[in-house]
């Protein structure tokens, strides 16, 4: 699991993780629940389109705007990496 970035609000990051895993459970229709240390592409098979759909769902549910233009998907291997990015690069909608 990637260490969360310093300076992040731990409570908000956890809220992102919880929302993200719930949304991924539904989007991916998996038998086993999604966890924070799972790898997005290799384990979950998350396509870039589905990844953007996930971002849109997070924006809706958390009422935030994510700075997607700053997101480098190649650097985000796990659910936790992505949650840290969202927690650190978003603002209230």
């Amino acid at each position: 699991m990637a260490a969360p970035e310093t300076g992040l609000d731990p409570a908000f990051r956890q809220q992102v993780v919880d929302t993200m895993t719930t949304v991924l459970d539904r989007l991916l229709d998996r038998a086993e629940p999604v966890s924070e240390d799972m790898r997005l592409m290799e384990e979950l098979g998350l396509s870039s389109t589905l990844g953007l759909e996930l971002m849109l769902e997070l924006e809706d549910q958390l009422e935030i705007l994510i700075d997607v233009e700053l997101m480098d998907q190649d650097q985000m291997r796990t659910v936790g990496d992505l949650a840290s990015f969202v927690a650190g690069h978003s603002r209230p909608a």
Partner: protein, 320 residues
């Protein structure tokens, strides 16, 4: 050296919000929202009353440099993403040639490289003209004061669903470009052209779609770097990149990969015109000129990817 003598573009003034296309295209609400929010595709141009020939004529109407020079036009090329757009024997290109007084020119369509066919057509036009050149008194190859020209068209109608949307990636807009090309012109000289034709990415089977998604940006970056190498330039030497208007997200990610600032990529038209097939580069060229982004001597790079029946990655470097 191949040069762009004049460029004209027609983009329909009537634009449709992407949400209004969701129903006709069978998009879910989520897909329409993704196009607007993340892909930056907000509106696309449509000209429902115009035929393909009408679109090309509207582009040519803005090509003032063609007036009185029709006799110099030796070749007319139409770069198209769609191999077949009208039933035989209808031929919009020949209609346009007759209407413009270019019935004497050799006219043909350049296709099978999808939206990368536009750059190929420029290269072909320049090479055909250069091959016709005769040496001048000093031995230098040139064609003289009545130097022959080629007219290169791009753009098409979005007449089927396949011509309107590409799987969660882009929405196509109608429009057209018309570009006068010479073999030895002094302005907007083509310094290099690089392309990579990848037949293994044929979308008919879909078996390599995931691989294409992975290799799309590195492959485009590779031809961009190759074009720069051939021109003897580095990316830092490039004033602006004229992209294909596939979507904003792709160019955000391309810029991250290339470590090139997004504000030097002319993405203005993505949100208001959609992906206008082979005409994107020319529309973005006009925008770059209108915004004052190109000064004499500036080097710029046009990049395009044609995907569908295989994939073609292409890049061309010019000097303004």
């Amino acid at each position: 050296m191949t040069a762009l003598e004049a460029v004209s573009v027609y983009l329909p003034p009537d634009r449709m919000p992407v949400e209004s296309l969701a129903g006709p295209l069978g998009l879910t609400e989520m897909q329409a929202r993704l196009f607007r929010r993340f892909h930056g595709l907000k509106e696309v141009g449509r000209d429902p009353g115009a035929s393909l020939a009408d679109l090309l004529m509207k582009a040519a109407a803005g090509l003032d440099a063609l007036r009185g020079q029709e006799h110099r036009v030796r070749y007319v090329l139409h770069a198209r993403a769609m191999p077949v757009v009208v039933p035989y024997p209808v031929n919009p290109l020949h209609e346009v040639c007759r209407a413009l007084g270019l019935g004497h020119a050799l006219a043909f369509t350049v296709t099978h490289q999808s939206c990368a066919s536009g750059l190929l057509a420029i290269d072909l036009a320049g090479r055909l003209l250069a091959a016709d050149a005769v040496p001048g008194p000093d031995g230098a190859e040139r064609n003289g004061p009545a130097e022959p020209l080629a007219l290169v068209f791009g753009g098409e109608k979005t007449f089927t669903r396949e011509a309107q949307v590409f799987a969660d990636t882009t929405i196509f807009g109608e429009g057209a470009s018309a570009c006068l090309v010479s073999a030895f012109g002094g302005r907007d000289r083509m310094l290099s052209f690089a392309s990579s034709v990848r037949g293994e990415f044929d979308s008919a089977t879909g078996e390599n779609d995931a691989r294409l998604q992975r290799e799309y940006r590195p492959s485009l970056a590779e031809v961009m770097r190759r074009a720069l190498d051939e021109a003897g330039l580095a990316l830092d030497d490039i004033a602006v990149v004229l992209p294909h208007n596939v979507n904003l997200r792709t160019w955000q990610r391309m810029c991250a990969l290339l470590e090139f600032p997004l504000d030097r990529v002319v993405v203005d038209n993505i949100g208001i015109s959609g992906h206008v097939f082979c005409a994107d580069m020319f529309a973005n060229y006009r925008t770059a000129c209108e915004r004052g982004l190109l000064r004499p001597g500036d080097r710029y790079l046009a990049a395009a990817v044609g995907a569908g029946g295989g994939a073609t990655f292409a890049a061309m470097v010019f000097e303004h």
